[in-house]
């Protein structure tokens, strides 16, 4: 009898390295999207806060679309239809674009809430000291409102980090995609998904710990 050909091979230390690299890619795509998305989100949040009817007609519906359509649909649609309008983006860039807009849409409402949390008399007091509108915004509204909604923002950021797993459908080898590749080869889904989960946890936990420390510091 011929020796059987082995299609599958066991989990090795190299595979752990492979997962680690993928975790770095998850971290990278998340960090980029969350950072740019937060900046844009605060900007949109300010437009919602100040813009009144103009914002209701423009920014608000645009953000609603990205908040309401499942991320996986946005990713697939964008990745496949962007080339039609001449945008040839690789899976990473497509992922960043969609995750960024998605983050911005979520952060916009958080940011608006934060700005609304600053009482009007506080702003009047700032203006009465001779501060301009922008000084008041920069030194009073953003720090006070930012602290009020910081926990909500952390929630958004951690959510986006986990949702970045969906970029795997475009073929970008981040944690989830890397796990799928290894599962196919080793046939050990239990072990590998547990490891992947541990990596996600290792990425999230320091952030939530650090956030808790900041909140404690601000609460004094």
């Amino acid at each position: 009898m011929e020796p059987t050909v082995s299609f599958f091979s066991g989990f090795t230390l190299n595979d752990l390295w492979f997962l680690g690299e993928a975790a770095l890619r998850t971290m990278w795509i998340s960090a980029l999207s969350i950072t740019i998305g937060t900046v844009l989100g605060v900007l949109f949040g300010w437009v919602l806060y100040e813009g009144k009817w103009i914002a209701t007609l423009t920014v608000a519906p645009f953000l609603d679309i990205f908040r309401s359509v499942p991320l996986i649909i946005q990713l697939v649609l964008f990745y496949n239809f962007a080339p039609i309008v001449g945008l040839n983006l690789d899976p990473f860039a497509s992922g960043v674009v969609i995750l960024t807009i998605y983050t911005a849409a979520l952060v916009a409402n958080v940011a608006r809430g934060g700005m609304e949390a600053v009482p009007a008399p506080m702003r009047r007091a700032a203006r009465s000291l001779g501060m301009t509108y922008w000084q008041d915004l920069r030194h009073v509204v953003l720090p006070i409102g930012g602290r009020a909604v910081f926990p909500a923002w952390v929630g958004v950021a951690l959510g986006v980090m986990k949702d970045s797993a969906l970029v795997s459908v475009l073929g970008y080898v981040e944690l989830l995609k890397a796990s799928q590749i290894l599962i196919t080869r080793t046939q050990e889904p239990f072990l590998i998904l547990t490891l992947a989960g541990a990596f996600y946890f290792a990425l999230s936990y320091p952030i939530s710990r650090y956030a808790a420390t900041l909140e404690r510091k601000w609460a004094q």
Binding site: P119, P121, R124, A125, R127, S128, L129, G130, H139, I144
Partner: protein, 240 residues
Amino acid sequence: MIEIRDLHKYFGALHVLKGINLDVKKGEVLSVIGASGSGKSTLLYCINGLEPIQQGHVTVDGTDVHARGTDINGLRQKLGMVFQQWNSFPHLTALENVALAPRIVKGKSRAEASDIARKQLGHVGLGEKLDVYPSALSGGQQQRLAIARALAMEPEYMLFDEATSALDPELVGEVLETMRMLAEEGMTMICVTHEMGFARDVSDRVAFFHQGVMEEIGPPAQIFGDAQSEHTRKFLANVR
């Protein structure tokens, strides 16, 4: 000098100030009394341009507050204001609360701004609380912090909008004491107040507002002893 001429203010259809004429000279302490809703707080907001006006003029040292092209942020540095709600910035220590505006509005260095803040906090009796956050201060201390914050801009006028109304009764005294000290130092002050004792003892003149009209103005002795207007007498009889 603050000159107010034929000032009319509306909130929508509501006619809040109905043609106010008033001059406040340098060094003068004016108390404004009257029932809630008589327009006395709105008057202060109109003086430093926090509320737009619909008719008339407010002039501070010759500058029309509401004219187009007036540098309102520059003008407000002359007009310190203390509010009923003290509005301390919760994310900053007492020192930083006071140092913020001198630094970002007047462009002072961090060290200069801190020196000013230290001096003003000492002035209002908070020299021991420099690094404390407002949440750890009592209402009276926070109100004195607000006074120090306004003084740090080296204003020429101070506007007090019911500075003691939101305080627990036992904390009113320390804030009134600080206001009295400023008056004795020669600060020009307009105090909207419900503290009749303060109005009587500290002010040079007292103005009584009734339904958007300045019914009567005069020295404390006249207003409290020999009021000309029926409304004034009625109001004073009720608050005593």
